[in-house]
Amino acid sequence: MTTRNAFFALIPALMAVPAAAQTQSEVSEFTLDNGMQVLVREDHRAPVVVSQVWYRVGSSYEGRGQTGISHLFEHMMFKGTEAVPEGRFSEIISREGGRENAFTGRDFTAYFEVLAADRLPIALELEADRMANLQITEDALSTEREVVLEERRLRSEDRPEGRFGERYAAVANVTNGYAHPIIGWADDVRGMQVDQLEGWYEQWYNPANATLVVAGDVDPEAVHALAREHFGSIPARAVPAVSDAERLDPPGERRLVYRDTQARVPQLRLGYNVPSFATAESENDPYALLMLANLLDGGEGARLPQSVVRDSDVAAAAGAGYNPMVRLDGEFTLYGVPGDGDVEAVEAALREQVQRLKDEPVQAEELERARSQLLADHLFELDSVFYQAMQLGMLETTGAGWQQLGEFEARIQSLTAEDVQAAAQRFLRAEQLTVGVMLPDDEEA
C-alpha cells in the first residue's frame, strides 16, 4: 500500500475532475407557436427514450380548501379522453413495452413515458390528447378520491415519520404553500369536486405553461417536428400570474416538539430557510450552500458522520442536505438520530457544527475533497437518462432555467473557502431556523 503523505493527499487539488461538459451532450431548445417549450438531450447509449411533460403547477400553488388538488388532478389525468378511454393510456404504453407514470411536487406536476426510442410518437400523441381533451367524471373522481386517501394513510397518517414531517413543514413554512403536504389535507381531498378540478385543468394545463423534455436516442430536429405535429394545434391561452408572498424578514427561530405514541426512536431536524437557484440574490449562493451541505455530509468521511456519529457517539445517524431546485426559498437541513435517546446532545452537536462553518475557514484539503465529490457526483448523474430529463424539467419549472446545468462545474470550481464561510454566516442564522423534535410518547405507549 502506498504511504499517504501530505503531498499525496493534495493530488486531487491539482487535477480537475474530467469536465462534465465535454461528455455532456448539448441541450436543444425549441418553443412552439403556442408557447410550449421543448428541450431535447441526446444520449445514444441505448435505443431508449424518456419523454416527460412538465407543468408549472404543484402543491405550492394551492390555497386552503384546495390542498392536494395538483396531486389528485395528476391521478385524474389517467382517467381518459373521448379518444383514449380510462385504462387505455397505460394499456397502450404497456403493449408497446414501455412504462409510464407521473409525479407531483411542490412546484410541478410531471408525466412521463420510457420507451424504445422509435416509439416516441406514441407517447407524444397520448400526452397531447390528454393536455387538450381530458374528461373528468363524477364516477372516476369518487373512486380516485378514495385511492388518494389510501395513499395519504400509507405515506403520512399511519407512520410516525409522516405525521412528524407534515407538522414540521407547517411550522417551517409559515408564509407560503410549502406549508401544506403535497398530497393535501385529508378533508380538502375528501371535499374535492369535479368543477374544482375542471378549473385547475383550465387554469394550468396549457401549452404555454408546459415543458416537454425528451432525453435519449433521438434527433433534436425530429423531436421538434414531432412536438409541433402533436402539440402544435393546441390553442395558446394566458397563464395566470402566481403571486407568492415576497420574501419576508427572517421569521425568527421556531420550535416544534412532537410526541408520538407509536414512535420508538427520537428524531431531530434543523431547517434553515435559505435561497434557491430561483430566489438567490447572488448566483454563487446556492453553490456555496451545496458545498456547505457536502462538507457536512458529502460522504462517510465528512464532518457529521465523523464528528457527530463516530468520534463522539452522540448520534447514531446524522446528515445534511440542500436542494436548490425549488421555486421559492429552499431549506438547508440537518438531521440527527440520538444513539442513546439524548436529543438535546444531538441538537447541541449539530449547532456546534454549524457554528464551526461560520467561525473557521475550511481547510484546502477538505474543500478539494468536497469539490471532487460534487463534480464526480454531477458526472455520475449522467448515467441515468431519466434523471437527466428530470433535472432539466425541474430547473425549468422552478424558474432556475435549464441553462443552470451548464454553470454547475464552473461555479463549483470557482468557490473559495471565504465564499463558503461567508455563506454560512449569512444563511445559517438562528432567525432562519426551525427546530423539529419527534419524541416517543412513553406515557401513553
Binding site: 502506498t2 412504462r99 373512486t143 397518517e157 426512536v265 445517524a317 475533497r369 458526472l379
Partner: protein, 439 residues
Amino acid sequence: MKRWIVMLGLILISGAGGAMEADIQQWHTESGTKVLFVERHELPIVDLRVVFDAGSARDGDHPGLARLTSELLLEGTEAQDAGEIARSFERYGARVSTNSGRDTGEFSLRGLSDPARLEPVIEELAAVMQGASFPADALERVRRQMLLGLQQAKSSAADQAERAFTRAIYGDHPYASPPSGTTASVEVLDRQAIVDFHTRHYTANNAVLTVVGDLTRARAEAIAEQLSQALPAGEALPPLPEVELPDGPQTVRVPFEAGQTHVMVGQPSVRRGDEAYYPLYMGNHMLGGSGLTSILAERMREDRGLSYSSSSRLSTGAQRGRFQMATQVRNEALGEALEVLRGSFAELRDEGPSEERMEASRRNITGSFPLQLDSNRDLLGYVSSIGFHDLPHDYLQQFMERIEAMDRQTVQAALQSQLDPEHMITVLVGPEAVINGVD
C-alpha cells in the same frame, strides 16, 4: 446511510423499471474469482461490484450476523480508521458501499475512469478487502445503530408485515433469518463470530466480480487480479438446504394501531434456473407485476378505490424465492380487499389467463427489452446477477424467446403446480378488532 434517514418527501411519485444484449466478457483470476466485464466508453466512469455468498441465509444461529459483518467492512483496518478509509475514496470522487441481503454480501464501487483517480481507489478497496479489522468501538456503534433500526421498525406496519411473512413462509429454513437480525441476537453478537464469518465467506473462491465501464480488457484484468489477490483463497460453501413448503394455509395476525391494514399473501416460489420460473413470471406479470395494467391494480384500485398500491411479486434465489401479493387497505374495507385479492389469484389459477392478456403481457415484456440496460448501473446489477447465479450470458435473449413462445396452458399449469392455495400464508398487520374480524 442508515434506514432511518429523515425522508424529506418532496415528490410524490405514483409508482414507477427495463435490455439489449450486452457483450459480457468472462474469465477467472489466478486465485479463482470469477470476473464478468462489460466495456462501455460513453461516460468516463467505472462501476464495480464484488458479490460473495455471504447473506443472511448464512447467519446460522445468529440472526443479523451477516449484516453486522457487512456493515463493518469499511469501518477500519490496522492502518486506517473508518474516517480515513472513507476519505481515501472521497478525495478521488469515488463512492463505495457495502450491502447484504438473504443470499449475498457485497462491495460496490463507482469511480472515475481516469487512472490517476481510479488506481488509488482500487488500491484502497483492496486494502479494505484484505485488512478489515472489525475494531471493537466500531462494532459497538454499528450494533447500536442496528438495534435502533430494529426499534424503529416496530413503528412501521410494512416492516412488521415483511418480518411476519418471511418467518411464516420459510419456517426453519435459513431464509427465515431476518437480515437485520433480532434485538436478542444483535445484542449478543460477538467480535469472534464476525471475524469467523468474514474469514469463511469473504474469500476469492466465493466471490464474483463484475466491472462495467470505461476500461480496456487489460486494465479490467489488472484490477480483477489486484482485488482477487487481496482475498484469502477459501473454500466453496455447501449449498443451502431446500425450502419446504408451509404445512397448510395459515393466517398470521399482528396487531398494529393504524387507519390501514397491511396485507401480504403468498408462499415460497422457485429457485433461480428452475424451468417453472418463466411461466410463473408471466403469470405474476399479469396478476400484479406490471403496474397500473395488472389485474390487481385494475380491480383493487381502478374499479373499487380500495387501495393506492396492490401488486404481486415473484422473486427467486439460490433456493426458492417467494411469490407474494401485497396491499394496504382502509380497515373497514379489509374483508372486501381480501376477497378481491384471493379471488383474483384463484381465478387466474383456475381458469388460466385470457389470450388477450397473454398477448398484452408478451408485448410488454419483449418490448421493454431495451429498457432494462440503459444505464451502467442497471447493467452492472444485471451482469452481476448472471455471474452469481451461473446463468448463461445470453440469459435475457433466452428469456425473451421463452416468453415469446409461451402459451396460456403453460402459464396455468405452472400456477397450478407451483402455487397451491394449500400452502398459502396470509399476514395481516392492523388493529386487533379489524384483523380478527376476517378469515
